[in-house]
Each structure stands twice: as C-alpha cells, then as structure tokens.
C-alpha cells in the first residue's frame, strides 16, 4: 500500500509540475513582449535598409498577432523545439546545453559542501553547552549574511592572487571549482546550519531522547541516529528555497570567478532581448524547481513515517 500511495503522490506532483512549467513560460513570454524595444531591431543589428525589418518579421513569425505567436510557441515547445537564438543564430538547445555543465557542477559542489558543513557544525555544537552554542550561532550568522560576490573577491585575492593555489578564472580543471564552490556554499551553509541546529536542540528536549540515553547510547550516536533525522524535516522545507538560492547565486559566482556557465548566457540574453534563450532558461529553472520540490516531497515521506499513513 505505501508503494501505491507513493506512486499516486508522485503522479499528482508531475501533474502540478506541468502547470507550473506552463505558467512560468507564459509569464516569461508576456514579460519579454512587454519590454520596450522591438525584436526586429535586435535581429537587424547594425544593418539597416528599407524592408529589412518586414522581411525579418516575416521570417521569424513576428508579424502575426501575439496570441498566434504564443500558440505557435507553445506548440513548438511541446515538440521539444526551443527555437533559434536571435543573437547567436544557433539553436537554443545548443546554446544552453553547452553552458549547463559548469553551472550544474558548481551548484552541485556548493550544495554538497553546504550540507556537509551545516551538518557537521550542527552535529558538533547542538546541545553541547553555552560556549558551543554561542560560537556556532555567531559563525552561522556571519556566514549567512556574507554576500557571495564579496566572499568570492576575498577568496580570489587570498588564494589566487597572493598564494596562487587556485586559478583566477575558467572552468578547465577541478581546482578551478574549489573557490567558487566555497564562496557559493558558505552563505547557504550558514542558513542551513541555523535551521538544523535549532531543530536539533528542540529535538534533544524530547522525552524519547531520554529513553535513548537510558539505553546507554552516546551523545554523538544519539544525534546521528535519532536527532538528525528529526532535524532534517525543517531543513527539507528550506531545501526548495536553497536550491533556488544556489542557482541564483551561481550566476553571480560565475561572473566573479569568470567561469563559463548559464549565468553568463542568461545575463547576455536578457540584456539583448534574446527571447528564445531567456525562455529556455526560465523553463529550465521551472523544471529544476519542480523536480526539486517533488524530490523533497518524497524525502519527507522517507524521513517521517507518520506522513505516509494519511
């Protein structure tokens, strides 16, 4: 029965995700067409002669009404055709696909690092006396409130320019990933540690912890085996937000560290009104968001058996 229940839940999540994807694409479409400036001008670039704009409009389908363009756009999306970039004149799939890897690498590395740092800090300091509490909460506050770009610049100055341990820019080797990942991970880790530690301290006050202690289980084992799992629930609630934060932060981090990636592509596309690219990025972000929240939803069920029965 739990398996059937789970399948049903995932199916309904996927249904919702379609709606979310549609809504976000539509919002992006409307927003981009509401922006000042005409798309024909962008496509024309520096070239100008009479009839050019009309020809471009006819070629790109811009002479039709907005609803017709919208319907055509949705139809093409449904067939997996994201169109061609106005500016780069290359298929959007190719443009976004080539830049996806470095960004995902960065976000994933930073996410993993943030989870490890936050988990380690919470395990080491939750319910271990006033000194540990004070130390941990100041660390978390500093980390959570440090801007990514500033941290990135500091790291670059110390470890790239002065010590020359890591490359200044690029994404060619693994060690180019170290500093950006740290810069991106620390603020997230700070926030996550705050939530985890507070939840762990609350859990440590629960009567069952006394029962576990009375079995002769040591303090660290209690935290790993019992308390951490309880503390994961509020952390998972934060998870969707954190994934969004990591992707958003990745854009800034890429800029600071001169890394290729979606950040550069998105920024360029927005500034040049490159509608197909922006729409593809929006769709990708919506997809990631939906996938993440579906995953987190299932994670809830795995963590807390009490949620499975209702």
């Amino acid at each position: 029965m739990p398996a059937r229940h789970l399948t049903l839940r995932i199916l309904s999540r996927l249904g919702t995700s379609l709606v979310v994807a549609w809504a976000s694409v539509t919002a992006a479409f409307v927003a981009l067409h509401a922006l000042p400036g005409r798309i024909e001008d962008i496509l024309a670039g520096d070239v100008d002669f009479p009839g050019l704009r009309e020809a471009i409009a006819a070629e790109w389908g811009l002479d039709r009404s907005l609803p017709a363009q919208y319907a055509d756009f949705l139809l093409r999306l449904a067939h997996g055709d994201f169109g061609t970039s106005y500016v780069l004149r290359r298929p959007v799939i190719e443009v976004v696909g080539s830049q996806l890897r470095p960004t995902v690498e960065l976000a994933f590395a930073a996410g993993l690092l943030a989870v490890l740092l936050a988990g380690g800090l919470a395990l080491a300091t939750a319910g271990r006396g006033r000194l540990a509490h004070g130390l941990a909460s100041s660390l978390e506050l500093v980390a959570a409130s440090t801007p990514v770009f500033w941290l990135g610049i500091l790291l670059l100055m110390a470890f790239s320019f002065s010590l020359r341990w890591f490359p200044v820019a690029g994404a060619k080797s693994w060690n180019a990933l170290v500093l950006p990942a740290i810069a991106l991970a620390l603020p997230t880790a700070g926030l996550l540690a705050q939530v985890l530690r507070e939840a762990m301290e609350k859990t440590l006050d629960q009567p069952f912890v006394t029962t576990v202690r009375a079995r002769g289980v040591g303090e660290t084992a209690i935290r790993i085996r019992h308390v951490l799992r309880h503390a994961l629930l509020p952390a998972v609630t934060l998870g969707g937000w954190l994934i969004g934060g990591l992707l958003g932060g990745a854009v800034i981090t890429e800029k600071v560290f001169g890394r290729p990636g979606l950040g550069t592509v998105t920024l360029g596309a927005v500034l040049t009104h490159d509608v197909p690219v922006v729409l593809a990025v929006v769709l990708l972000a919506a997809l990631i968001h939906v996938a993440a929240s579906t995953l987190l939803d299932i994670l809830y069920l795995l963590i807390d058996p009490r949620l499975r029965t209702t």
């Binding site: 069952f208 029962t211 202690r213 079995r215």
Partner: protein, 550 residues
C-alpha cells in the same frame, strides 16, 4: 549476576541540586534501597523530586546537576566515582528506563523493532542481524505483544496506547536489565490497559528484577509495590512496607493524600479538607460536607437525540472502511444536573463532547440547546447561544492565547461592559474561583497547574453559562490539586446550579461528582443511570486497604 541478597541500589542521604536554577536542592537527604525481585514505589506530587531521584540512578539527572550522597552504591560499586563511560555501560544493559507515554518516549521516526533492538546492538549483546531480529521478537512476545514480527516493522503511532506502552517496556528490558525504573509508566492509559501494563512489569519483578515504580497514583502502586516511599518537596516524608504506608497510614501527609482520593464514598463532601483518623486496627476518613445543592429541575438544558458520527479510514489491508465514532447516542442534561460521561479512550466521549460544543456536525440525529436546534445550523445562528455553553479543557494552558494575561483571558468571555466594570468583574470571578487578585496581570505560563485550571473555570463562569462541558478537567492534576479543583467545581455547581457535562476516564472522579452517569464503549452508550445504579451496590473503593468512610 549480582548476589540475591546484595541490594541493587543502596543510597543514603542523596541530595540533588541544580545550581543554575537556584540554590534550593530538588532532592534532599533521600535514602533508597532496592533489592532484586522487589518493587519499590516512589510516590508524590509533581515537583516532589521523585523523577530526579530515579534519574540519578541512571546518571541522567541532566546538565548542571550537583549530586551529593553519603553513600551511593549501585550493585556494590560506588557510583559517586562513575564517569560517563561507566554510566553508559550501566544504562540499558543493567538498568532499564520506562517512561510515560510511549508516543513521545519512543523515537517516532523509527520502527518498534529498531527501538527495541538498539540497546542490544549498542552494548553488543547480539551479533548478526538474524540473532537480533529473533531477540527483538522474543522480547516483544515477552511483554505480551501479539504478532511480534509484524509489530516490529510498525511505528509507535500505528499502535494503540496499550501496545505502544508494551513496546516501550520491551525496549527497556531487551537487554534483560536487573533493575527497571518505571517513571509513571501507566499514566494517560485507560484503567484496563493500566492493569495489563502493570502486569507486564510485575512479571519482571517475579523473575527477579528490581523495580522502582514512580507514580502519583496511590491506588495503583498499592497493587504491585512491596515497599512505598512518599516524597514531598524533595524530602522523603514516609517510607515502609506497602501495608504500613498505605493501609495503616501514620504520616499526616500520606493520610492527606489518601483521604483526597475521590470515590463514591466521598460524594457530597469536600476532598481537600478530608483527614484520616486512625483508630485501633482500622482507619476512617473524616470529611466535611459540601454546601447543599439545589434540586435538579426537570427543564432540559441539553437534549441529544440519536446522534451518530462515522469516519472513513484506510484499513490495514488497503481497503477503506468506516469507523464508527458514535452511534445512536441520546441523553438529556437537566438544569442544575451533573451528568458524568465515562469510557476508555476511543470510546466516543470526545467526539460526543465536540458535537455538543457545536464544533463537529453529527452524521445523524440532532442536538438541542435550551430548547433550540443546535446542530446543522449555520454558525451565525449558533453564535448568540454560544455564550450559554462553556468549556473547561483538560489542559488549560494550551487553550489560552499565550500572549494574553489572565485579565484578558477572562474578560474576553464577559458580556460588554465598560473597561472599569470589566476589571471589577474579573476580580470578582477570580475571587469566586479562589484566586487572589494578584494573578490578574500574570501570563498563564507563570501560573501553577491548579491556578491555570481555576482561570479556565473563571473564564467559563464569566459567560454565565447554562451548561459547562468539562473534558477531563482534573486528569492532569496531582491528587491534592485535583481535590481542590473538584471541591471548587462542586461548590460552584451547588451555588450557581449550572448544569455540567463531566467527561472523565476516572471512575472515582465521576462517582464523586456526578448525579447520573453514561458509560461509553465503542461509540455507544452501554450503561446509564444514577451513580449507585451504574456502579452497583458493591462499589469498589479506590482507596486501598480497609478504609471506610465516616
């Protein structure tokens, strides 16, 4: 194993203090000896230091506790020299702890099997997964758990209260400790289930384990304990064999506790001021009569006719079924009458109360309040009558807005008057429920349990209700406080002639207070009538021994 004659625990002059929370020790000069095969009961009100004393046997008194003792021997070893590692070897392995309410005392995210097995893996008592599973199932079978293999895969919230508590005991005794500490192990369980759980513990004692039973329920400990220790305000005030302490009580405090237990014999008299006077061989309880009550009028305040409530639920096999919470329930509460509702948890008492309070619509039948239709009407039509129906909950604290002061809590229920008139009215109400005006600007969390319940009563009275629904109003209170609140309710009821619907799982309380009783079982009324009719002429006095009412 230890020698049969050597005590498991031998403590002299134990003092426990928490310097961070004030200098006054919470336990002072306590002596405690427990032998193998012996059940020692530690009784007293909450805050008397009984739990702290028990936890000190496990080295679990908490951070910052300062423990001093002239002698502190556990199985012949001086526990004063124990370090954390010594305590950990002892916990679970040699000493098991059973706490109250398994729903929160077992890790809710882990299966029963994992919880029971943890002590075994932690102390490396079994090797291999198969051996562990076998041992877990055997332990569950030992505490009387039906279908242990199936239960081991379930979680605490999937078991009934009684089975859950058995699982908690199983987790404590899996390593076969020779000392079991049971801290209120049956509180919050229904009487029948209490007996079963107690029997499981008594079995361990018969097999040679020592049992330290902590309870505030004197009748309960009388059934199983060999010796009783009575604590009050951190000190042991009375100790001896169960017979000496409970059947021929010598100490005034023990006598006061025993005399305050409500029962059929205490009907119509005050509990808090009752005293036991010891004669030769037998003791009698002397009680003051309560103020006289007005006669019950024939005019009905509440008419419940044939109400039913069903819930759809997913059965274990995967198909959905309906669960009957309430079926064919009819009764009437007349003006000035106290109607008791008694039943085990899950018997439909609370569902019935919710329907009466207009918080839940019945699937069938109707309720009339003061002659007017009360069910299946839109809330705006109900609102004018709501004032006439008030509610006193079991846990008043959670029913108060935590940001409200006592004055706001009570004033919210007052009819509209000026600000000055309100304050005077609140003061009068506080006075009526025996609280001084000094509490008026306090927050409820700064009040004691008894004071909070008094505030809840004052809040109910503020609306000048025709009917008060009391849902287990004294279940969470210590016996002394319970006596005071029951006296207060009886006094107020006598003076104001307010009708009451009094819900409880404690037969003694209902016998003490109610005029008529409804007995609920599986959502139906299985018995009703006057207290004497329902409980029969051979009323079992809940006071142990040969006490008789004067």
């Amino acid at each position: 194993m230890t020698d049969r004659h050597e005590p498991l625990v031998d403590i002299r002059g134990l003092s426990v203090a928490f310097p961070a929370q004030g200098d006054e020790p919470v336990v002072q000069g306590a002596d405690l000896t427990i032998h193998p095969g012996e059940c020692v009961a530690l009784v007293g009100e909450s805050g008397s230091g009984k739990s702290v004393t028990a936890r000190s046997l496990l080295g679990l008194t908490g951070d910052g506790a300062r423990i001093e003792a002239a002698q502190f021997r556990i199985r012949g070893r001086d526990a004063r020299t124990f370090r954390e590692a010594d305590w950990r070897r002892l916990r679970g392995n040699l000493t098991g702890l059973v706490m109250q309410d398994a729903l929160v005392s077992l890790d809710p995210l882990r299966t029963i099997g994992q919880e029971v097995g943890e002590v075994l893996t932690e102390h490396r008592l079994v090797s291999g997964g198969a051996a562990l599973t076998e041992r877990v199932h055997a332990t569950l079978a030992k505490v009387g758990m039906p279908r242990p293999a199936e239960r081991a895969r379930q979680f605490a919230h999937q078991l009934s209260g009684g089975l859950r508590q058995r699982a908690l005991i199983a987790a404590a005794i899996a390593a076969e400790p020779d000392l079991i500490i049971a801290d209120e192990p049956t509180t919050a369980l229904d009487p029948g289930i209490q007996d079963q759980v107690l029997a499981v513990l008594a079995d361990r004692v018969r097999e040679g384990a020592g049992l330290l039973l902590i309870s505030h329920d004197l009748a309960l400990v009388a059934r199983i304990a060999h010796r009783v220790i009575v604590m009050r305000a951190g000190r042991i005030v009375d100790a001896g064999s169960t017979q000496e302490v409970l059947e021929q009580p010598r100490h005034p405090y023990t006598r006061q506790l025993l005399a305050a237990i409500p029962s059929a014999a205490s009907r119509g008299s005050r509990l808090a001021s009752a005293r036991i006077s010891a004669g030769q061989g037998s003791s009698t309880i002397e009680r003051e009569p309560s103020p006289p009550r007005a006669a019950v009028e024939p005019r009905p305040v509440l008419e419940v006719s044939d109400i039913a409530k069903h819930y759809a639920h997913r059965a274990a096999a995967g198909q959905t079924g309906t669960f009957t919470a309430l079926e064919g329930v009819s009764f009437t509460v007349r003006a000035g009458e106290v109607l008791g509702i008694i039943g085990a948890s899950g018997s439909g008492k609370s569902t019935c109360a919710k329907i009466v309070l207009g918080l839940l619509e019945p699937d069938a039948g109707e309720v009339r309040l003061l002659g007017e239709l009360w069910t299946r009407i839109p809330e705006p039509r109900r609102r004018p009558l709501r004032r006439r129906l008030q509610y006193i909950p079991q846990d008043p604290l959670s029913s108060f807005d935590p940001r409200y002061r006592v004055a706001d809590i009570i004033a919210e229920n007052l009819p509209d008057t000026g600000a000055r008139g309100r304050r005077a009215r609140v003061l009068a109400l506080l006075n009526q429920v025996g609280l001084s005006g000094g509490v008026i600007d306090r927050h409820p969390r700064a009040l004691s349990g008894g004071q909070r319940q008094r505030v809840a009563i004052a809040r109910a009275l503020a609306a000048e209700p025709a009917l008060i629904v009391c849902d287990e109003p004294v279940s969470a209170l210590d016996i002394g406080i319970q006596a005071q609140i029951l006296d207060l309710l009886a006094d107020l009821q006598g003076r104001l002639s307010t009708a009451m619907l009094f819900i409880s799982h404690d037969w003694g309380v209902v016998q003490h207070l109610a005029d008529r009783v409804l007995v609920f079982q599986d959502g139906r009324i299985v018995d009703q009538g006057s207290v004497a009719d329902v409980f029969g002429s051979a009323i079992v006095n809940t006071v142990p021994g040969r006490l008789s009412a004067a």
